[in-house]
Amino acid sequence: MYRIQIDRSLCSGFGACAEIAPDIIELDASGNATARVGVSDDPAVLDAAAACPMAAILITEEEAA
């Protein structure tokens, strides 16, 4: 499982994350990224984090419960 944390003060609204992993990350009305879920097993979150130009998305791997 991947834990998803988004530092919204770093987010600059590029939007690639929400395009790559739309089930997991969305943009709010002000254009900033918001996680729809806290954890996910979809490896697309890694690509979404990698596409962020601000390094605002932190993914940490957790042992499955």
Binding site: L10, A16, G31, A50, C52, A55, I59
Partner: protein
């Protein structure tokens, strides 16, 4: 190539940090060392000209990752030391404190330094690149102080904006006909210049600094311009761009890689992060990720400007919206969309990014 067992990343800015954390996230299990010259864990540089200067953010708010992150990820941070030399044959490096570090792959993420002007710099003349630079500047930006900003680029404009909020008198010296006229076009340049004036900034265009003038005690008292005029100032910020830090001299060919402002990414354009991820993936022999168009943003004088794409070859600009909230589309000869700028329209950015990417 056999996969490396130890990787040394030189430079703990955004690119170095991003490369190291991507290596771990993508499964690299060997020794991973991140060496940084500054005595701080990797931090967010863009805030230095904004929330850090106003005091809305303190140094501890700037760290890119929680303090425990680097330990948990088994990334050894070696801070407050430069890598002084690299031996490519033996695959070792020595830090300024004399520590020997072996590596199978070496990542150069040494970044860039603020350019200085080619004349004597008295006390009170600052640059803004590092957290220490920002701490020094912050101590001087007191209400009523007169600040001269040399260079109307993004750092100069953001500091001018922040300084006005702090009650500082600001004069901005710009070499071109308007701020950002070359990067964003003359219409946008004129629009931004008007905004700065509305916010109380004294802009001098088509001018250059020729010398600093100082008080008998040695502290700066003004900037002499090329045409002989003098701008009185208690504090000066020199914001005339950066130059890549190439002191190590090692050529980036595997097993040596480079990313960030010392490599291809252009100054503050956020390409540094994408390059860092790309290097981590090359080292691990993973497929590259799809390329994203260049992206940049700036907060100044109540505007959030977000630019996607590259305006270098733009031939015409289409503007729509009001003076505060607008979108500019940049087209090359023939009408191809090469870049788009959104001002105070953050929700439009996602769509503009797709438009620019689709036209590429």
């Amino acid at each position: 190539m056999t996969s490396p067992r130890s990787i040394l990343v030189v430079g703990a800015g955004l690119a170095g940090a991003r490369c190291a954390e991507t290596l771990r996230a993508e499964g690299f299990d060997g020794e991973l060392t991140l060496v940084g010259e500054e005595p701080f864990a990797p931090y967010e540089r863009p805030a230095l000209s904004k929330e850090f200067l106003t005091g809305e953010k303190s140094a501890s708010d700037l760290f890119l990752r929680p303090g425990s992150f680097w330990n948990e990820q088994r990334i050894e941070l070696v801070l407050g030391q430069r890598v002084a030399s690299v031996d490519v044959e033996r695959r070792t490096a020595v830090t300024s404190a004399g520590r020997l570090i072996g590596w199978d792959a070496l990542v150069l993420a040494t970044g860039a330094r603020a350019r200085k002007l080619p004349f004597d710099t008295p006390e009170g003349v600052h640059v803004l690149r590092s957290l220490a630079d920002a701490q020094a500047l912050r101590r001087e930006l007191l209400p009523g102080v007169r600040l001269a900003v040399v260079g109307g680029g993004f750092v100069g404009a953001e500091v001018a904006s922040t300084a006005r909020k702090l009650g500082v008198d600001v004069t901005l010296l710009e070499a071109g006909s308007a701020p950002f006229a070359r990067a964003l076009g003359p219409e946008l340049g004129a629009r931004l210049a008007e905004r700065y004036i509305d916010h109380g900034v004294d802009i001098r265009t088509e001018t250059a600094a020729a010398a600093f003038l100082s008080l008998p005690g040695g502290r700066v008292k003004g900037v002499q311009l090329a045409d002989g005029d003098v701008v009185d100032a208690d504090v000066v910020l020199v914001a005339v761009g950066v130059e890549p830090a190439h002191e190590l001299g090692a050529e980036p060919a595997p097993p040596i890689y480079a990313c960030g402002d010392n490599a291809g990414s252009r100054g503050h354009w956020t390409g540094a992060a994408a390059e860092a991820v790309g290097v981590a993936r090359r080292i691990l022999e993973l497929e590259p990720l799809p390329e994203q168009p260049p992206f940049f943003w700036s907060d100044q004088f109540g505007l959030r400007l977000q630019l996607v794409g590259d305006t270098t070859h733009a031939d015409e600009v289409e503007l729509e919206g009001t003076h505060e909230s607008f979108i500019a589309r940049y087209r090359a000869r023939g009408g191809k969309l090469v870049a788009a700028l959104a001002s105070n329209q953050p929700a439009a950015m996602g769509g503009l990014r797709l438009e620019v990417a689709a036209a590429a």
